[in-house]
Subunit: 239 residues, 2 copies
């Protein structure tokens, strides 16, 4: 059987226009920590999230009485209800609620991909459910790494490689160069995993802030089977 579907990786939201193609499911990735936190929030019963790119929009929602999660450069914004730590969403208080979320990189990536066939949220914490679902869609897949201020980062591209490896096992997909590069990068992490994540500049940044617990959680597999999906302005739990 000819492999007609393409899985590729876009290593920075800024490169999205160069990777955009029709009939593509975009997986937005921000392992440390936006997309990991989103998966946690849905696992803990949040009903909807509204990702917004700017703090101004987030604060506008705050004035209207919404719960708001916002951070910049790893630090929660004062006056907000949540930061970017998955642990801050592990509470029954969010059950059935709508939370507005704005982060340094993750929500910008969602914004870039807004017009794709479908936008879903990926993290190590939902990787198996996500793999299974993507394998059944018969669509191209683009793994969109949020990176760090338009630069590529290690943890998002390694996750993209982990997901690409799983997707390629089905033999449905051909790959672009960036997917291959991410795959080989991921395979190298399997050889020397510790060295790898300690090397990531954002891991270092978070560890310096005392957030090692967050890092460990964000690299844990399958904490949830939920796949958050973008519907209009809302992220919701996929049915």
């Amino acid at each position: 059987m000819e492999k007609k579907l393409i899985v590729d990786v876009c290593l920075s939201p800024q490169l999205y226009p160069a990777y955009e193609r029709e009939d593509t499911i975009v997986v937005v990735i921000d392992v440390l920590r936006a997309t990991s936190a989103m998966c946690t929030a849905f696992e803990y019963g949040v009903e909807k999230m509204i990702p917004v790119a700017t703090l101004e929009e987030a604060m506008e929602y705050k004035k209207q009485g919404f719960l708001v999660g916002a951070e910049r450069n790893g630090i929660a914004i004062e006056g907000c209800d949540f930061g970017n730590s998955p642990y801050s969403y592990m509470t029954d208080a969010i059950k059935g609620k709508t939370i507005v979320i704005s982060t340094t990189n993750g929500t910008q990536a969602i914004e870039a991909a807004r017009n794709a066939y479908k936008v879903v949220i990926g993290a190590f914490t939902n990787i198996s459910a996500l793999t299974h679902w993507l394998q059944q869609q018969n669509k191209n897949v683009l793994l969109l790494c949020s990176g760090w201020k338009n630069r590529m980062n290690l943890e998002d591209s390694v996750f993209a490689g982990a997901l690409a490896e799983r997707l390629l096992k089905t033999n449905l997909f051909q790959t672009g160069d960036a997917a291959l590069a991410s795959l080989f990068l991921y395979q190298q992490t399997q050889i020397s995993q510790v060295k790898f994540f300690h090397s990531s500049s954002h891991s270092k940044r978070l560890a310096a802030m005392g957030l090692k617990k967050d890092i460990k959680y964000c690299f844990s597999l399958d904490k949830t089977t939920i796949i958050p999906v973008l519907e209009g302005k809302y992220l919701v739990k996929m049915a």
Copy 2:
């Protein structure tokens, strides 16, 4: 000794603004085949090259009587004197001449980096001379991959990893995430080199055009000790 210098990798010319910093030597990389061909041209005695981003500029020079090398999508432009194959520059006819050159990706990368402290040309064919020179400059180094139409490609990032590995042996540099990713990617190629280069989408494209000889040449180490450097609008042989 504290490592104060930074070596990083920019995987697409479009991301250059996110990586730009002061006091940085930019190494422009287009392994298949622009920067490999430039190194060959200088080895065969060309005096100057004028890299231009658009075909229109190239054709303007052609009208003025210059020798012109130009290609798009791997195919030499009709009416030009050279294409992008290193073999086309292996002739005494270029000795002492000035050649205008425009390629799909490589000359765009040179254009993006034009205001850097210094812009030099890198390829497997001059990797040792380049490594040695960079180690002695006491400057930040940015390895700028030309990629393919703003996407990242495998061969440029693998070369960036090979050069990063050599530079890091001196212990002078700290790295950004993209340099680490390229390094790990390169190390993975050392484990499975054949598989790797056959996977590259541009290798496939060139092989389909009957250019396997070019691919083999472009992955050969140290065919020259010349480092082309940008001086104003000219690439010249570094003194």
